[in-house]
């Protein structure tokens, strides 16, 4: 019976990236995907005839440029189209557009506050400086400050070097970012709600926290990381939908010799003594490998794949406190015609970027208030994109796709997560009603509506508790603490079992960094 060097559980972008890097290093690799399509949550599917939805993940945020080069992804079909601007429509008034052009952005902000307009570029520069500290962290395994191993200490010192260059002011800002809420942090800079509200949401995306919850300021930094990638313009759409990111990585992996099987659900690990020796498929087939790499989230990995008896109780306990609690949903609309925002009618450049339904800080906090007590927001934060304006391969000419990321849709409804199917359409109606207020006539243009609740994300996409990042991106679950202290280097308590998903450092988003870093770690440790 054939023994692979590595079997990867899950064909999402991280599993595939891990496979590609291992295959590139000459290892025999098999990827097993439960569904009929590859991509996991980075997937494109034709849900309505002629319309290809990026069903879950809808923008490419921080896909590592080094991975694009290493795996020659453009040769395998990857093309990224930048998101150009950010529009926050209002029920009355022109709202706000932040453009890639400094002068135009200044004029936009000055409508609300001349002071904010003049300070905005300075804020951007300061954030970019701070983000520079964070960027090397996501391109390397996270050093553990509790470790006394010389290489760990050396790496820690190297990462620390830019901190010294920050100066006192920079360090003060950083500490504030790590402790303050997004709203409080922005209050230190700006006065205009119209500006602060759409800026603050980058602190809460994917978390079960509000813009006034402490520590949400830090997550805003990730937003600026895309910008310090500078020329790389990492924020954008993948041509053909987000699934093309996964597909291009899959094609690269196959070109390096990796095998990929779809509709091959893994039931559990195949053990030899207390070591992982392969996997058992749902149909009973046993497949052997020197290592098994799980790209599914930590909860699935350690409750479904591995029998608890193989895990130290301290580890199981640590993971039981790992916070997933998904808080977002997704509504994908197939449209007969473009929406018309009363704020700014027409199909101009302003609707080609992302459109943020975030009219004020209070609005966002109220949306969180609903969620705190187990209801979806009556008026949610919605991040809308119209990818068909830049990518004509997604829908028939003249037709459009409106992709809506919606927060809050807490997994833990007061009536229990399993009650989500009863609330699904009401949730979809809430989203459409919210948008209809800003873009009257939208309802009549909808040809098809797909509503994805956190429950659906768990059931259909294997995202435990519907968490899009395989665990919240909050400070206490990042870096050397992701997914658990002592296990941040992709290894697990089970010999022969490794992790490479978004539940490992540096976390979620379509970065593919966990997959790459895990592969590199395994190769370095001669695990296979």
């Amino acid at each position: 019976m054939k023994q692979y060097d590595a079997i990867i559980v899950g064909g999402g972008h991280n599993g595939l990236a891990c496979a590609a890097y291992l295959a590139r290093a000459g290892r025999s690799v098999l990827v097993l995907e439960r569904r009929h399509v590859l991509g996991g949550a980075a997937v494109t599917e034709e849900i309505f005839p002629g319309f290809k939805f990026s069903v879950c993940s809808y923008v490419v945020s921080l896909l590592r440029p080094q991975i694009i080069r290493d795996l020659e992804l453009p040769r395998h079909g990857l093309e990224i189209l930048p998101l150009e601007c950010s529009f926050a429509p209002a029920v009355d008034g022109p709202g706000l557009v932040r453009w890639p052009d400094a002068r135009r952005t200044r004029e936009e902000i000055a409508r609300y506050s001349a002071k904010d307009a003049s300070l905005y570029p300075e804020f951007g520069r300061e954030m970019a400086q701070l983000a520079r500290l964070v960027k090397p962290v996501i391109d390397e395994p996270s050093p553990d400050p509790a470790s006394l191993h010389p290489t760990e200490l050396l790496r820690l010192a190297r990462l620390g070097k830019p901190f010294r260059e920050l100066g006192a002011r920079g360090i003060h800002q950083l500490v504030k970012m790590m402790t303050l809420s997004a709203a409080d942090f922005l209050d230190e800079w700006f006065e205009s709600d119209v500006l602060k509200a759409p800026m603050s949401v980058s602190g809460i995306i994917g978390t079960y926290l509000g813009v006034r919850s402490p520590s949400t300021a830090y997550v805003m930094l990730h937003h600026y990381m895309g910008e310090i990638d500078g020329a790389m313009r990492a924020w954008g759409f993948s041509r053909g939908g987000t699934g093309e990111v996964s597909m291009s990585i899959a094609r690269a992996a196959q070109a390096f010799g990796a095998e990929i099987r779809t509709e091959a659900p893994v039931a559990k690990l195949l053990m030899r003594g207390d070591e992982a020796a392969g996997v058992v498929l749902a149909d009973g087939t046993e497949l052997r490998a020197r290592v098994v790499v799980s790209s599914v989230d930590p909860k699935l990995t350690f409750t479904r794949l591995v029998d608890a008896k193989y895990l130290p109780s301290e580890f199981t306990h640590a993971l039981s406190r790992y916070r997933l609690r998904g808080s977002s949903g997704k509504v994908n609309l197939a449209l007969d015609a473009l929406p018309e925002f009363t704020s700014r009618p027409g199909d101009g450049l302003h609707i080609r970027g992302d459109i943020a339904v975030a009219p004020s800080i209070d609005y966002l906090e109220r949306a969180y208030d609903d969620a705190k007590y187990g209801k979806f927001s009556r008026r949610p934060y919605i991040n809308v994109v119209l990818p068909t304006l830049t990518d004509s391969t997604l829908a028939p000419p003249g037709k459009h796709i409106m992709s809506c990321f919606v927060q809050y849709a807490p997994y833990h409804l007061a009536t229990g997560p399993e009650s989500w199917p009863q609330h699904r359409e009401a949730f979809g109606d809430t989203v459409v009603d919210t948008l209809e207020e800003l873009a009257p006539g939208l309802k009549n243009r909808i040809l098809h509506r797909q509503v994805l609740t956190p429950w659906d994300m768990e059931q259909d996409f294997g995202l435990s508790e519907g968490n899009i990042f395989h665990g919240e991106l909050s400070l206490e679950q990042l870096a050397f603490l992701r997914p658990a202290a002592g296990f941040a280097h992709y290894q697990t308590p089970v010999r022969g079992l490794w992790m490479c998903g978004s539940g490992t450092h540096p976390g979620g988003g379509v970065m593919a960094a966990p997959g790459k870093l895990a592969a590199e770690r395994m190769l370095k440790e001669r695990a296979l």
Binding site: Q66, P74, P100, A231, R233, R239, S392
Partner: protein, 397 residues
């Protein structure tokens, strides 16, 4: 003072950047909007509409047209069928390239040559012995490039099924709103794309027809900056930038042969009948080897990031392509110069076109390129790479 092309009323209205440049005596937009990036993306992901009227165009007709052209061009075009176009260059007596361009067989013994620089005198000088008429139609024929993945859909909407049968480097005649337009499936972007040739009188009607059809297919007007990014990705050389036309070179060292420019594949040495101009010299060079080679360079991006990091800066590349001569080194010795380059938004790579000594031109050869950060001259590793850097299957499909 540059002239206005027949499309000027449209391009001027659209050009919000006020950035124009002189292209062969015509004013041409560098960029319409805020940055060339979105226009570049139109070329790669929707379609870009570009005024290429400033190209020089010569119509050659008469009994000897094909024989005459095969004498002056380095490529034998006698076998070029009606409805076909080909890419080529032409040389002086010493086998040094004067210019590169295209030759289309339009049917009825009529061919059209395009050129980057004026070539009328050169053509007339050699035409005397042939039964041909050479007409300079540069100022009579307006031209548009329609480039990008949706260009075919736009043309189908604008002028019907004639587009469907048009293969790569094919030429056809179509009618739009009652006037005639020559279509060729060619371009300077390395993508699926077409060029359209029309009498000046119908230029605006053509622009309007394409704009209308493009509404549903992500069509954008694009300027020369975006074109420059895509042509470097496609590995196309540009006369006056990557090489000097032999008739404009001030010294011998500035001249290049087709082999040195990577255009050897367009040269037909094996042929019946009379030789072409420069043939003897090129036969000799082919036998003895060339001194230089034009290559692609993949410039190591992490090394550039590291250089900037030493200065405490995030990496920076200009948003448009660069076109200045930059030294290329091997083992500390200068072995050539890069002549143009760009950050490739699609490949996420830093690319350059360079002329290097033939001995270091094999793909994979590690070289160094000068890179200036904060006024400090450094070198970064660059690997010789086959061009085109970017070659999507849709170009030929």
């Amino acid at each position: 003072m540059p002239n206005a092309t027949p499309f000027h009323p449209r391009t001027q209205a659209l050009c919000q950047s006020y950035k124009w440049k002189d292209w062969s005596g015509y004013c041409a937009p560098c960029v319409y909007g805020m940055s060339p990036e979105r226009e570049y993306n139109a070329i790669r992901n929707g379609a870009g509409l570009l005024d290429v009227t400033p190209l020089f165009k010569y119509d050659v007709s008469g009994k000897d047209a094909a024989r005459f052209l095969s004498r002056v061009l380095s490529r034998d075009v006698r076998a070029l069928k009606p409805g076909r176009m080909t890419y080529l260059c032409w040389c002086d007596d010493h086998g040094k390239v004067l210019d590169d361009g295209t030759c289309a067989h339009l049917g009825d013994g009529r061919s059209r040559l395009t050129a980057a620089a004026p070539a009328l005198h050169w053509l007339m000088r050699h035409a005397r012995r042939y039964d041909v008429t050479v007409a300079d139609v540069s100022d009579e024929v307006a031209a548009l490039a329609l480039q990008g993945p949706t260009s075919r859909a736009i043309l189908r909407d604008a002028c019907g099924e004639v587009v469907d049968g048009l293969k790569f480097f094919g030429v056809a005649t179509a009618r739009i709103d009652g006037f005639e337009v020559v279509l060729s499936r060619t371009g300077y972007t390395g993508d699926l794309g077409y060029e359209l040739w029309v009498d000046n009188a119908h230029a605006l009607a053509l622009w309007d027809a394409l704009s209308a059809a493009g509404k549903r297919h992500n069509l954008e007007p694009v300027g020369l900056d975006a074109l420059d990014i895509s042509r470097v990705e496609a590995g196309f050389v540009l006369r006056g930038i990557d090489y000097t036309g032999a008739n404009e070179a001030l010294i011998e060292a500035q001249k290049s042969s087709p082999y040195e420019l990577g255009l050897g594949w367009t040269v037909t040495l094996e042929r019946d009948g009379e030789p072409f101009i420069g043939q003897a010299a090129l036969e000799r060079e082919k036998r003895e080897g060339s001194a230089w080679a034009l290559v692609g360079l993949d410039v190591d991006w992490p090394a550039i990031e590291a250089l900037y990091a030493e200065h405490g800066l995030p990496p920076h590349v200009p948003s448009a392509a660069w076109r200045s001569m930059v030294p290329v080194y091997r083992d500390g010795r200068q072995v050539g110069r890069a002549t143009s380059g760009t950050w490739s938004p699609t490949l996420k790579k830093n690319l350059a076109l360079a002329t290097v000594e033939a001995s270091v031109s094999e793909p994979g050869t590690p070289l160094y390129l000068e890179w200036t950060v904060e006024w400090s001259r450094q070198v970064v590793p660059a690997v010789v790479t086959k061009t085109p850097f970017f070659d999507p299957p849709r170009k030929r499909a």
